[in-house]
């Protein structure tokens, strides 16, 4: 409890070895990063920082509530956006997993527990390469996406996951922005880079994306045929 302001805060106490963590998070001013209010040293020599107390649920519990696909993708987008931002500032997360993502009561998404060099990730979400870099975060993002997607999801979404979790880092998305671009394309009904879709699927996608236009063109052709036959009666 911050008595001066009469508000509850989250307090993290840690070994001085990881003193850089507060500075690392303070560098990331982003709506999806929990802001730090204060950092300092305790009388026993340990470090602490006080940050906003986020009211919400962890992503694993949130996903168990069966949110819609659009909602799942919205959360994933927020995570990818904050990763793209962090990577642009030279920060990698290293431990991306549902337990480190909070969905707030107003739908806001927070990515927490930002990377300390000593952390080597959580086994199920960690990239296979020995030294972690920004592409390792892309791998974890892909595993997170696989965790979030319902079993019967679109082949385009499954292809995005497959590309992101490729064991060869060079075969993954080069950055979070490229990953986001494919998610955008999927949501807009456009072709995704990760999947060479069959022709029939491309036509189906084009048809559903442009259904109104196709109906209008069909109506125009119908009107012209109708007028033609009315004239010949």
């Amino acid at each position: 409890m911050n008595r001066d302001l009469d508000r509850s805060v989250a307090l993290k106490v840690f070994d001085p070895t990881f003193a850089g963590e507060a500075q690392l998070i303070a560098r990331l001013e982003h709506p999806a990063v929990v802001p730090i209010y204060e950092a300092g040293l305790l009388s026993d020599g340990r470090c602490f920082y006080a940050m906003k107390l986020v009211a919400g649920t962890c992503l694993d519990k949130y996903a168990a509530g069966s949110p819609s696909l659009a909602e799942r993708l919205r959360v994933l987008r927020r995570v990818a956006e904050v990763l793209a931002f962090a990577h642009s500032r030279g920060v990698i997360h290293r431990d991306l997993k549902p337990q480190n993502i909070m969905v707030g009561e107003f739908g806001q998404v927070y990515l927490m527990d930002w990377g300390i060099a000593a952390i080597q990730g959580t086994v199920d979400f960690r990239a296979p390469e020995p030294s972690l870099d920004s592409r390792s975060d892309i791998f974890s993002l892909g595993v997170l996406m696989r965790f979030l997607l319902p079993e019967s999801s679109s082949p385009a979404l499954r292809a995005i996951v497959t590309k992101a979790i490729s064991t060869d880092p060079a075969a993954r998305y080069p950055d979070a922005a490229a990953f986001l671009k494919d998610i955008d394309h999927f949501e807009e009904g456009r072709a995704v880079e990760a999947w060479s879709e069959p022709l029939w699927h491309g036509l189906q996608r084009f048809g559903s994306r442009n259904a109104i236009l196709l109906w209008l063109l069909f109506a125009y052709a119908g009107v012209k045929f109708l007028l033609f036959f009315l004239r010949t009666l």
């Binding site: 456009r190 994306r209 442009n210 109104i212 236009l213 209008l216 125009y220 009107v223 012209k224 007028l227």
Partner: protein
Amino acid sequence: MAEANITMNKILVGLLFGLILGAIDGATAWFTPEVRPMITGIMVGSSVKGMVVGLLCGWFARKVHSTMWGVVVGAALGLLFAFLVAAMPSANGHHYYLEIMLPGFVVGAIVGFLTQRMGTPLGRTTEDMKRAG
């Protein structure tokens, strides 16, 4: 539609598609033998009508972002201007209300749809919008 980055503003999109679709609609008069000798005049008139409808649809699309209302307003404008064209005195004294107004209605709806789905609002390019965040 709009797969690529389109840097035209909505009024330009309306003018362009109004011109193209108007010209194509006018060209279909070739299938009506009694007006075939007047095909050039019909195509020019139909293109101008399409451009006016496109201009108004583009202006509307800059103010209101709704595919449904774009189609409705485009169809209404198409119908109105097609009526004005059909009511004009013709060389053979006939008025082709149905033949002009029915396709004009649908072409207007198409132009209204396209101005909603394509082009950038308020004359900005997609790059401008990306820069503005």
